[in-house]
């Protein structure tokens, strides 16, 4: 069946004993998009992904994938999903090539048949195809896991924190690979604790403590932010941060790289007043600018609301 909405979740709840890990989750993923769940560890991302993958049942709510019910039709759904779990879950004592052909054969396929899909990714590790998977470096394991998730030509790829613990440069390269896969028509659901990766998704859900804080395109989520935000720099960032926290009108003051992002409670806050305060406190050579927030600013704003 052809569905415009690849994933449809409404009013989903899930608890482990007394702990509610997902509360009233609703969202849709459209065909061909990269949809990101952005949130810290413990937000419920993995539980949600297991439910989408038919590996876990929700306590209540409706979940359909490709228009099929995840409980009744789990077998047909599994044929069409590629899943890369957060933890390395391949066979460490099989070689790179053996792992890949094992995953292909489970789905009644072969490496040769879908080689074109994984070529860009697999070619990086193919020189090591006789090596045991357990002996690969972190980056190579990640590429093998993605190849294994792709080898049966899934319509939907579910990636649980593929870039956690990966250095900043390799993360950029990984997202390039995802863009290529999307261009080949694969729908991608991905989770990440890195807020800066939000801008690489077409639509995102911000998730914290089992609840979705907001869902939209990254641009629209940022545009909704109500805070007037200042970015302030000075030689001694930490002293600046402490001074700003003590400012009578301070709402939030957070370090952001070399700057402090600062917002006020009153609506008529302006640069002059803040500058006056900083001069009074003998801060030298500071610079103050009004900026538009980024996803991390908005996430913190929603978390504390």
């Amino acid at each position: 069946m052809i569905a415009d909405k690849i994933v449809h979740v409404s009013n989903l709840n899930k608890s482990y004993k007394a702990v509610q890990v997902l509360s009233d989750i609703s969202f849709e993923v459209k065909e061909g998009e990269i949809f990101g769940f952005i949130g810290p560890d413990g937000a419920g991302k993995t539980s949600l992904f297991r439910i989408i993958n038919t590996l876990l049942l929700p306590d209540s709510g409706r979940v359909s994938v490709f228009g099929l019910d995840t409980k009744k039709d789990y077998k047909s759904i599994r044929q069409r999903i590629g899943y890369m779990p957060g933890r390395f879950s391949l066979y460490p004592d099989l070689s790179v090539e053996e792992n890949l052909s094992f995953f292909a054969s489970i789905f009644g396929s072969t490496i040769a048949k879908n080689y074109h899909l994984i070529k860009d990714i697999y070619s990086h590790i193919e020189p090591f195809k006789k090596r045991k998977a357990g002996a690969l470096s972190g980056g190579m394991k990640q590429k093998l896991a993605l190849s294994c998730a792709l080898i049966h030509k899934p319509d939907l790829l579910v990636l649980d924190e593929p870039t956690t613990g990966v250095d900043a440069v390799s993360r950029t390269e990984f997202w390039e690979m995802l863009k290529n896969l999307k261009n080949q028509g694969i729908t991608i659901i991905v989770s990440t604790p890195y807020m800066d990766e939000a801008s690489l998704c077409e639509r995102i859900a911000l998730i914290s403590q089992g609840k979705i804080l907001d869902i939209n395109t990254p641009e629209a989520i940022i545009a909704k932010s109500e805070s007037k935000l200042f970015s302030i720099t000075a030689e001694d960032k930490y002293s600046l941060l402490k001074l700003l926290r003590n400012y009578s009108d301070c709402k939030t003051a957070f370090l952001f790289g070399e700057n402090v992002h600062f917002s006020c409670r009153s609506e008529n806050a302006d640069k002059d007043k803040i500058s006056e305060y900083l001069r009074l406190k003998a801060v030298e050579n500071f610079e103050i600018n009004i900026i538009s927030p980024n996803i991390e600013d908005v996430f913190m704003e929603l978390m504390t609301r």
Binding site: D41, S137, G165, A168, Y194, G257, M303
Partner: protein, 249 residues
Amino acid sequence: MISDKKVIKVENLTKRFGSFIAVNDISFEVGEGEIFGFLGANGAGKTTAIKMLTGLLLPSSGEATVAGFDAFRQSEKIKKNIGYMSQRFSLYEDLTIAENIRLYGGIYGLSNKHIKEQTNILLTKMKLIDYKNSLIASLPLGWRQKLAFAVAMFHDPKIVFLDEPTGGVDPITRRQFWDMIYEAVSEGKTIFVTTHYMDEAEYCDRVSIMVDGKIAAIDTPSKLKQQFNVKSINDVFVRLARPNMALNQ
């Protein structure tokens, strides 16, 4: 304040595994009271270097002193005088907060009386005293990481090694964690930290960037940005770790 006294001194430090050189002739110093960021791509040799500096791995050649002790001959003394915390493993989930502290305190040879007193002081300060007998497994990740940092300093070490302490932590807790780092430094501790968050590199007094077993750059964040004529440490990182990619941009 960073003093002139050096608490880590590394000269021509090298580690070979067979024909593979994981750490290749690195030299640097860390001053007392400094926040030193130790950056590098996956597989650049950071973990091997940290293992040598924390007394867990014998170097192949070169020199290293940590907290005044020699990495070749006094690794046990190094272990006693440093704190260590990593993202991958911090506290025992099936023990309570108090039990974890008692275990760590005991390992470092602190008296029961001291452990009891300090546990109460610490947990009161962290506003966790009501959770003293809660299992670690029941605490949110952010709390655990902050607690793990405090436990790593429980025996009052001079230097604390933090290996990706904020991985996966929410953005507010991540910043609270850095507040704790700054507080520890104001009390005279030296912090040696690794991170994949490039904004956190800016919070360090100095950073080094490792590429293929060597230290490719080392300086204050602002001087590094000047030197490479880029806007962020992330750009410095890209230039060094993937020279080809940077050229294409």
